[in-house]
Symmetry: C2
Subunit: 385 residues, 2 copies
């Protein structure tokens, strides 16, 4: 594979991480887990994050300032080997200011393609990756026309800044349509045809500065109230055909964007059909299982990729299940007693609907995973339901 880099900093691969500093925009749990994976590689970290004492800032340098503060961006960039981000709503202005000074990965084109749902779906469509039927909606008339075209149920979503189920509603009847418009009308929206009887799968891919690419096995995700609750890795009933098709779709995206870093892509599987739902140009909640469940974690491979180091194997070890801890802390003693359970707390204050940690169960068979997961859910259920 050849690389025709469009980066303003086509640096050679970093030969020696030594004491290289990696800058991360955003100091949440994804940044924290990047730093935890990167210290053993000899790296140091600097976060730019407006909230003091963030999950990342608890264990590395943190500049406490808004993401669009030019002076903070200057101090943040100073002396970095490379910069990256842990959320996809980085402004184009901030990205430009950073990338004028140091290499910034994933590339800005990936931000542009993933920040706005119409752009993202059109991008998938252009690469011949199937997506659910959709319509842009900016007025009540357009909403009615879109409902007419796509039918009900459909899903109305804001085009920007949606996460964890925020900014979307399922429309099942005309009353829902009117209520949703009252609530969400006024900002750019997208209506998507609802895909029934699907399961959600996600693919985590990593591509390095030299074009080397690896794919983790597909994962099956379960949400409740729009928030990821459970990932099973590898996905049950995973076939080489299913994995191969997801990788083929991912490869088109990675190459089109000259992508560098970890990319997550969510798919709907409905029988033999797969449709792309969305992508995230960053490490992803559905890849947390890789810390214990894969030869190399998504966090380590993201860092290796953006530093131009060889990528590590994405091979799964046994069978993993990742369960998010949401809202309140469950009794940790009981969780630590489950064989093969690995606790990850993020250093965040508990708050309703907030992801404050996760637990990964690693097992030697799907049956053992099922049994240990049942033990875990018996504990978690009491605290988060």
């Amino acid at each position: 594979m050849t690389e025709s880099s469009g980066s303003p900093h086509p640096l050679p691969p970093v030969a020696l991480p030594g004491h290289a500093i990696v800058g991360i925009l955003g100091g949440g749990q994804l940044g924290r887990m990047l730093a935890l994976a990167g210290y053993p590689l000899g790296l140091r970290f600097r976060f730019l994050e407006p909230t003091a004492d963030s999950p990342g800032g608890q264990m590395a340098e943190q500049i406490v300032a808004p993401y669009d503060d030019p002076d903070a961006l200057r101090r943040f960039s100073d002396g970095l080997a490379v910069a990256t981000y842990e959320f996809e709503n980085v402004s184009v202005a901030a990205a430009s200011q950073i990338s004028a000074r140091v290499p910034l990965y994933p590339p800005p084109a990936a931000l542009a393609a993933s920040q706005e749902r119409i752009v993202e779906k059109t991008f998938f469509h252009m690469l011949e990756i199937p997506v659910p039927a959709f319509s842009a909606v900016e007025s009540a008339e357009e909403l009615n026309a879109a409902v007419e075209r796509l039918g009900l149920p459909s899903v109305l979503k804001t085009r920007r800044f949606g996460y964890d189920g925020k900014g979307q509603r399922v429309l099942r009847n005309q009353k829902d349509v009117e209520a949703a418009w009252t609530e969400m009308g006024g900002e750019p929206l997208i209506l998507e045809r609802f895909v029934p009887f699907y399961r959600e799968l996600s693919l985590i891919a990593a591509r390095s500065r030299n074009g080397e690419t690896v794919f983790y096995p597909l994962v099956e995700n379960h949400h409740r109230e729009g928030i990821l609750r459970l990932s099973l890795a590898p996905a049950p009933r995973l076939t080489p055909a299913l994995q191969g098709q997801a990788e083929e779709f991912a490869r088109r995206i990675l190459e089109e964007l000259e992508y560098v870093g970890v990319l997550a892509i969510e798919f709907f599987q409905q029988g033999d059909r797969r449709r792309a739902n969305e992508m995230a140009p960053r490490v992803h909640n559905s890849g947390h299982w890789t810390i214990e469940g894969a030869e190399t974690s998504q966090f380590e491979n993201h860092l290796r990729a953006i530093l131009g180091m060889p990528l590590g194997s994405p091979k799964a070890f046994g069978f993993s299940a990742m369960v998010n801890l949401i809202g309140e802390l469950p009794p940790l003693h009981r969780i630590l007693q489950i064989p093969g359970a690995h606790l990850h707390l993020y250093g965040k204050q508990p708050r309703a609907a907030r992801k404050i940690g996760h637990v990964t169960i690693r097992a030697i068979s799907p049956e053992e995973r099922h049994e240990r997961l049942a033990q875990l859910q018996a504990i978690i259920g009491k605290t988060v339901e």
Copy 2:
């Protein structure tokens, strides 16, 4: 198992790590790996370490001061949930000052038993754990008498502050005896009978505040120039009898000391005979393989133990080899290309004979471990031999 704690702080097990701060005396790589294992448990860390920008201080709060500075010890202790140490030469005065304010584990009795080789060997002997024959040596006359009694070859060692082969010499003839006395005479020494044709095995054990105890599988260690180079885990030709006997010896030590935390014990195996060499009341270089190679790492289990949390399984996954990086950095790109290789750098400047990192190879069979280890040694050999 019942616990009759002699601790001045017989606290109940810590129910919620939340934002508990763990204080660590010493900011070297062992402290760094403790913190890396502890952040996912929701813990925070504070180091007391005289050298600025230490491996631990790069990723947590560090008080830069000597270990015997009373004011620093006060600031260090302030608000800690628990204190521990990453080297065994903590002074009794410092340990007392800390344990008057916060729980300090492992218990001071373990420090006393392991800081001085005559005390340590006598302690083993008292517990009916076999040791090589030894004599205390404080004068040239005593050295000659000890050589007469134990024969040659024997090993002359300083009684305190020995590590990585420092402070010891093998005596093979009368000329060695005189040279060693010229070099080492004047401080308290011990002469030990040399054990020929042995292999060194080590056992890592963890015991929690509530008495729960786990043992990792025995590891085979290889040294050169007195410095650990390679550990194979589990040890080749490990039998249940061998493991069982080592665990029985360890159990006597743990119970006698009412031990809390991780304890490492080194054994000489010579045919069917096992003799204890020394112990370290802390996480240990020969346990680094547990980060990837065991269900729960020695670092996580040390923290769980001193906080009174349930211990994690010490079960090995597959077959691991741990190789120390000593003196200079090898070409990291080539190391990262080895399948199953996991790099750990400590954030230290390279310097002759200094441990600056390690690599753990994890494999699914002894043959695969052998093959990957050969790849690694082909790279390391060029830089450290």
